[in-house]
């Protein structure tokens, strides 16, 4: 059992938890993820590590309620436990293995969207701890949905906030903020690291390709085991099949087939929707899980 030491709702539908998982806390690096399973009947849910405390042996996760399983997870309180918590999984971010003196001379731009702010945070923090300061753009739908602002402020070089509706910070999409920094303010970046919804990463990559900035993205496809055993997480990168859980989750964004990845992400959406309905409405809703789902819906 993996005990929850702290649980809070960051904003509507987005939750943060510190979970006791000493083995993971000891060995994890930025860019890696964990798989949580709530109870005997729960799904295996991949979540990027948002922070870690090696001394306390804890891992911080941040998640948004999107299906039945995350809804059940959101009900957990301090003192409750996850039945299973596995990791760290996947490869660490590329920069972790780079020479620090080389890194220090690099201009790095992070672009975070929505809950993607959570996985960006440990990367910016790791770099700051190693003496590298980076520019960070955080995009949210509106002020309400912005998370980890103060935490990010403490570790970022320059922090730029954008909201779709202009309720806070720059009004517009993260891509417009990138254009503003590069085209108008003349900033030069050697690498951009973009983490957020698939559609955001796709548009950031289209732009940075034009601007000639190498871009790394972190993919979150459907997963089951997270150890390379099932292939559910496969994505096309540069025309090759990669398993995001072991070869990734971070890839060269200019090589990722986002359209395919977005379609694959939808595969169980109708299934998840049904499961959520069942959870909220109890047995009155008789969805036929597994059966009769012709696949094309």
């Amino acid at each position: 059992m993996y005990r929850i030491l702290n649980a809070k709702e960051l904003t509507s539908n987005i939750y943060l938890m510190d979970v006791e998982a000493p083995r993971i806390a000891k060995s994890c690096l930025p860019g890696q993820f964990i798989i949580a399973k709530l109870d005997e009947v729960g799904e295996r849910i991949p979540l990027t590590i948002c922070d870690y405390n090696r001394e306390a042996g804890t891992i911080t996760i941040v998640f948004q309620v999107i299906g039945a399983s995350t809804e059940k997870m959101s009900a957990l309180k301090e003192g409750d436990s996850f039945r299973d918590f596995t990791g760290p999984l996947g490869m660490a971010s590329e920069f972790v293995n780079e020479d620090i003196s080389v890194l220090k001379n690099k201009k790095i731009l992070f672009v975070a969207g929505g809950v993607g702010t959570a996985p960006v945070y440990p990367q910016v923090k790791w770099l700051r701890e190693n003496g590298v300061s980076c520019d960070v753009i955080v995009g949210a739908k509106n002020k309400e949905l912005l998370i980890l602002e103060n935490e990010m402020k403490a570790v970022a070089g320059n922090l730029y906030i954008t909201t779709d509706d202009g309720s806070y910070g720059f009004k517009g999409m993260v891509t417009e903020q990138i254009k503003e920094l590069v085209n108008n303010q003349g900033n030069k970046y050697d690498v951009c690291i973009a983490i957020g919804p698939m559609i955001m990463m796709k548009f950031v990559c289209l732009l940075t390709k034009e601007l000639g900035i190498k871009t790394i993205v972190s993919l979150n496809p459907v997963m089951v085991d997270g150890t390379g055993m099932c292939g559910a997480c496969r994505v096309s990168v540069g025309g090759e099949i990669k398993f995001a859980c072991v070869d990734g989750p971070e890839f060269d964004g200019h090589l990722v087939d986002f359209d395919e990845a977005m379609k694959r992400q939808q595969m169980y959406k109708s299934e998840e929707g049904r499961a959520l309905l069942r959870l909220r409405e109890g047995d009155t809703h008789k969805g036929h899980k597994g059966k009769g789902c012709g696949g094309n819906n």
Partner: protein
Amino acid sequence: MDVLKKVPVREQDAKVRATNFDEVCLGYNMEEAMEEASRCLKCNNAQCVKGCPVGINIPEFVNKVQAGDIKAAADVIAEASALPAVCGRVCPQESQCEGKCIRGIKGEAISIGKLERFVADWSRENGVVPEKPANTNGKKVAVIGSGPAGLTCAGDLAKLGYEVTIFEALHKAGGVLVYGIPEFRLPKDTVVQHEIENVKKLGVKIETNVVVGKSVTIDELLEEEGFDAIFVGSGAGLPRFMGIPGENANGVFSANEYLTRNNLMKAFREDYDTPIIGGKKVAVVGGGNVAMDAARTALRLGAEVHIIYRRSEEELPARVEEVHHAKEEGVIFDLLTNPTEIIVDENGWVKGMKLIKMELGEPDASGRRSPVEIPDSEYELELDTVIMSLGTSPNPLISSTTKGLEINKRKCIVAEEVNGKTTKEGVYAGGDAVTGAATVILAMEAGKKGAKGIHEYLSSK
């Protein structure tokens, strides 16, 4: 009674079982088992024993069954095998013990597997439990992976007095026995769980959710966590795909994914959260045990199922019994055909498959007749789900994170056959991780040899 024929074993009716996940074969009862045992000729030069990879004293245990002394029969089997309830169900007996049976020359071989299963089930139901050794020798061994290789190795070492911890990546122990082989062939809660409990009763600790190579490395286990030796039984779990167009479409799965969702995550049960797309019309590509299991699972989830295999029936690598059961249940075999493309609709979902007919050419150097395409024989099959069952290879997670552990061209860990010794001191390996995907009994044998190898190594240190 016709001595030339096996005592028939009771099975669920094919029509009924095609709609449920309960075990297909119901096994012998005492009377049937004793009758079947009486067909045994008790040969002086028993060939069956030579066919069993772990050398169970078959005539001896069959003799005990005939006499009705099942406890004694269980003791005979236990000398050689740690997982008889599993092996009795899933061993390819027709090419091992039963394939060599003298009775089988004129009539049908003795049902050795069914008798073994009967003995093991009887022992379980009658509470025969293994005993924990009184003292440990203070030496610590880590076993990576809790499949048949790991469980066997851990059990044997615990009996010798070692303190053994199994590290398992998934949340449940058992390896392929829990995530791959379906419930209707190998019941999880009764049979598999019981074998795992028995290993625990010997004093073995099992730590799940530890991915060795990620959560902790082999070098750290040896240097920081104080383990004196390691056995790697991490299996061959990495699925292969064909590399044909359309393979990443929605509705295309590896057999591992499909089976894991259904077996490990229990997607077939309404009370479990993990979803599975059952499909209405499913093609399973491949002809091995894994393909049969995927096909029969899809059938039970309500689909029309086609097995697509490029050679003929004779070459099907699956066990004869599985092919027979699949046919009885209504799986359609499209033999001598090979997919060339998966047809995808505008939303990214599978809508069909392009196939080409094959014929068997001249035997090649290995004596196998290889399939060749028949020109202009392409055709299309309408489908909504495709399951790829093309084999698996060992996962590089461990080899790539362990200094000095060599692998071969096929990504398998290099280890000596007699004792599982690898190229790294103190590290032993066996099972699918060394041989590539093979069988339960061979993995078990490798686990035994690994335990012996580790015992010799630590005794001489």
